[in-house]
Symmetry: D2
Subunit: 163 residues, 4 copies
């Protein structure tokens, strides 16, 4: 059996708006149906919670890398809980553990994760709400593997091509 490919969904917690959460839930569900594993920051709020819910209610497997030390702080939709006790330092572990990242929405933590994803040369897809990161990426003169789309079938197609 091969190591499971892991798709990370990154997006705001408390600062998430309804459209982003709706999209994240659908995307989580699509990831489950595709037989992929979902990774998020694991807190029971915003884009993280929505994506986890979508994945788990469609029968998928979820990994949650928590900022705190206590597993009880994780979303109820987490299968495997990895508490780090490192606060936002755990953002790098989210990036390194994901074979591909999808960004839904934008917030301070999301920006840090996008920067780390560029630094670690991870394939990244910018979904709804993450357009500002696209503008930032385009203008930087560095080689990168960044895609921009709000279309879930297209996201799945990019994932398949990059695994």
């Amino acid at each position: 059996m091969a190591k499971s490919p892991i798709i990370g969904i990154m997006g705001p917690g408390e600062g998430a708006i309804a459209d982003w959460m709706l999209f994240a839930e659908k995307l989580g569900s699509a990831i489950a149906r595709e037989g992929l594993t979902l990774l998020t920051g694991g807190r029971p709020v915003g884009v993280m919670e929505a994506a986890l819910k979508g994945c788990r209610t469609s029968g998928g497997t979820t990994i949650c890398v928590l900022p705190g030390k206590d597993k009880a702080d994780a979303s109820k939709y987490c299968d495997q809980v990895i508490p780090t006790g490192m606060g936002n330092g755990r953002n790098l572990i989210n990036i390194l553990s994901s074979d591909l990242l999808v960004f839904v929405g934008i917030g301070p933590g999301t920006i840090s994760e996008f920067g780390l994803g560029l630094k670690e040369k991870k394939p990244m897809i910018l979904g709804p709400g993450a357009q500002k990161l696209w503008n930032l990426a385009k203008e930087m003169e560095i080689p990168l593997v960044v895609f921009r789309t709000d279309d879930i079938p297209e996201i799945l197609e990019i994932i398949r091509r990059n695994m």
Copy 2:
């Protein structure tokens, strides 16, 4: 579905002796048959590799928290690979992610994990080769949840009582 209880097996990599690896493989297998998830430091050597092999070949699920950044450095018996890029700083994540820890053998990293387990008040079982940690624990005047046994059925019984 409840979050999976995770049993961490901690022990030396390169410095492991054959007895420790044999025990770790049997224990990994027992953990799989008990329906528990196994976590180790994930490198393809020593106690880590043996425990992962035992668990996977008995149909269990394994989580590997790597010191490096590259998933390719993980044991082939890892299901979920969490690279941290933090070197031995990842030892704390091993401790925090495990609901109970079993120590097999002793080495520098193992000592650091035992200290962190005491600090984080995790239930810990000291197996073969880890007697020196038992002496250290007994003499310290702090409350702790540390057990000492080389018997796998007794280890499973302690796990059941502490989950």
Copy 3:
């Protein structure tokens, strides 16, 4: 004696252009003359090296938080070297250790540090080359303490008001 206020200068290493390095060196020098301590990521290249050189050659004190484990990898202009062995995970320590941050230029690591600075609500000044981060900050609907200027006397004035 009060704890030393620490000013962090964040900017690219290998990807830095000459203008950014020239500015960083002047700013490092101004920080030294102001009696403040300088913190950078400590590698002997780009904005980090230039800022450290400016500070040290003007008699200031420098702290370097390295990604690697080896002090020998630090710039020769570092006074206090803090190796972390955490790779880009050390970016959070740069942010938390600085009482105020100045960004000079832009690159993947710089973006991650800007996101973490927003998250940790640190006062941040965006200098030459960091305009794209200003556009990103302005459009986000979150409370923030971010300034935009290329003028060193104005930077010193903002530092004084925010210490």
Copy 4:
């Protein structure tokens, strides 16, 4: 000017006894008179606080690597405060940043630091209260640079020979 050699003093916080604190204060003072820089875990309690007080009141320089995110949690005897937000994960940074380590007393965190020091092959001196770590080290069949003494002049002599 050369990079400052840093001596780390490791020991318990809340669990420290009076003898250990008295020794740590004298040792901190001796380190200051020797012109060396002192590093501790920076919390205002136990061996850390005593060593910092001894060093600062004798005119020395102190670096404090905090577990939390807030500089206000540091001892008042800290010159340079490095908050990490990593909890006990910062123990590795203590080890990597110190050119030589002296252990005073014993506790869970101290054990973890001793294990990490062995792992990272740092020269380590075991002072009063740390005898149990000496027994552990002696019995392990690994190459190590560990000394055992309660005598401050001898500690300074070992430091000089190992810098």
